[in-house]
Amino acid sequence: MSETRFSEETIKVVNSIVSRYPEGKQKSALIPVLHIAQAEFGGWLSSDTMDYVASLLEIKPIEVYEVASFYSMFNLKPVGKCLLEVCHTGPCMLNGAEELVSYLERKLGIKSGETTADGMFTIREVECLGSCGTAPMLQCGRDFHENLTNEKVDALLDKLKAEGKQKSYVDQD
């Protein structure tokens, strides 16, 4: 297991993020830096990762835990390489979110909230993603997949399997 440490290049990105905020307010960079850390260190935030971020931003580790555990995008436990987050709120529910979840469940052989044995996919139901006009939909990493049908889901899963990963926060393209 490699040491939890950003590359020189990532450190530069972190420093440029810190520079957006006034002197002494580097804690403001916490959420953006946690996003980067999560993307770089396996899709979740271990306590080592969080302690490392705390040391980078010169804040107490508990300040990082408090924040990381508040926001639903931060995973405090490992998840699959591709996290399939299905919106199940109001308008999505009206337009087949539950059917989408059950299709994914049958297709992947896991229940919502679980990860496939090969560690490839996790299904999770989440609250409103702001895509109510294009329901049902899911988010995988950086990308929104909207107006989903079973066929579209098949194609998406095939594509993700072939690529072996989701587009993450640090992908620039």
């Binding site: 306590s47 107490k60 580790p61 508990i62 300040e63 835990y65 408090e66 555990s69 508040f70 639903s72």
Partner: protein
């Protein structure tokens, strides 16, 4: 100095310094009109506003702008204005809202008072008694957490916590390194160190004193005795820690000091914070200079039968001066 501000609370007039909150103005009046406070703590900056038990109605904003405030306000956070009129116990709306808050605070509380060390000196117990309803309408499973030890002296019983944040402010402001905080969100929020860690520094024991419920308890006192069977005595010592006042209450059972706490005022707030050495390590009578029996409010279960003449506390009996004090208190009580 700026002129004092006139405010009326439940029909009682008082003049207070500008910047005073409604709650503190009410405390200056005293008595029934003081709103209960489960999260506000005058010695902790930033505390308050969260529990909503101190909600009051502002029926007149001020002399200049007499409009009432549209919603009930947290009296611990709202500053008085000149000519403001506040309704607390006189407002059915306030009482109804407060009853609602108490119900909310209790739906996930374990109600394990019979085995809780805080019983008898619990703010939530008192609040529920004074403002709550007799039954609960909540029929679902209550939130549960495992008990954990945070260090060898303090136990965290999260199931009882009402998330007042006082212990977090204490750790931030009184100790020199906070390692615990509020984790998670909503009704899953909890006090935790995240990865099991001891809260261990010179002043960490104060989190026990500021906790309004039995969520943070003194492991050295755990299940030793019900508080109402112990007898509190004011004492002090010349503590070597410059930040510690050394002014404490010793809780006796017979000749034995069962626990040491800070001195709490009538609103349950400690008068000054004490260090862990005084709290946990000084449990012999000869560690202390005894000042005399602690005066406890007559309404508290702790005061019942305390300073009677027949079964005097050994430390009192040995000292003529303390005997005299005891006698005075006794006579005051039977008057």
């Amino acid at each position: 100095m700026a002129d004092k501000i006139k405010v009326t609370i439940d029909g009682q007039h008082i003049e207070v310094e500008p910047g005073t909150t409604i709650l503190n103005a009410a405390r200056q009046i005293g008595g029934e009109s003081v709103p209960p406070a489960m999260c506000y703590y005058s010695k902790l900056k930033g505390s308050g506003g969260k529990c909503r038990t101190c909600l009051v109605k502002v029926s007149k904003g001020s002399e200049k702008d007499p409009r009432p405030m549209p919603k009930l306000v947290a009296s611990c956070q709202t500053q008085v204005m000149d000519g403001m009129e506040v309704e607390n116990m006189t407002s059915p709306e306030v009482l109804e809202a407060r009853k609602g808050v108490v119900e909310m605070l209790l739906i996930n509380h374990p109600l394990d008072c019979p085995v809780c060390d805080q019983a008898g000196e619990c703010d939530l117990q008192n609040l529920a008694y004074e403002h709550g309803a007799a039954g609960t309408r909540y029929e679902f499973e209550r939130r549960k957490f495992n008990k954990i030890n945070i260090g060898d002296k303090i136990q965290l019983h999260m199931t009882r916590c009402i998330l007042c944040y006082r212990c977090v402010y204490t750790a931030d402001q009184i100790t020199d390194g906070r390692v615990h905080g509020i984790l998670n969100r909503g009704d899953k929020a909890e006090i935790s160190t995240y990865i099991a860690q001891a809260i261990d520094n010179d002043f960490s024991g104060n989190v026990i004193d500021v906790c309004p419920v039995g969520a943070l308890t003194d492991k050295t006192f755990r299940f030793k005795n019900r508080v109402w069977f112990t007898k509190p005595v004011d004492a002090h010592r010349d503590c070597e820690n410059p930040k510690c006042s050394g002014k404490v209450v010793l809780w006796y059972k017979g000749e034995e000091v069962l626990r040491v706490t800070g001195r709490k005022d009538q609103y349950g707030e400690v008068e000054s914070f004490i260090c862990n050495t005084c709290r946990f390590d000084k449990k012999k009578t000869n560690d202390w200079v005894i000042e005399g029996p602690r005066q406890i409010e007559d309404t508290s279960v702790i005061s019942s039968n305390h300073y009677e003449m027949e079964h005097m506390l050994p430390v009192v009996e040995k000292d003529p001066e303390l005997m005299e004090q005891n006698q005075k208190m006794f006579h005051k009580k039977i008057q």
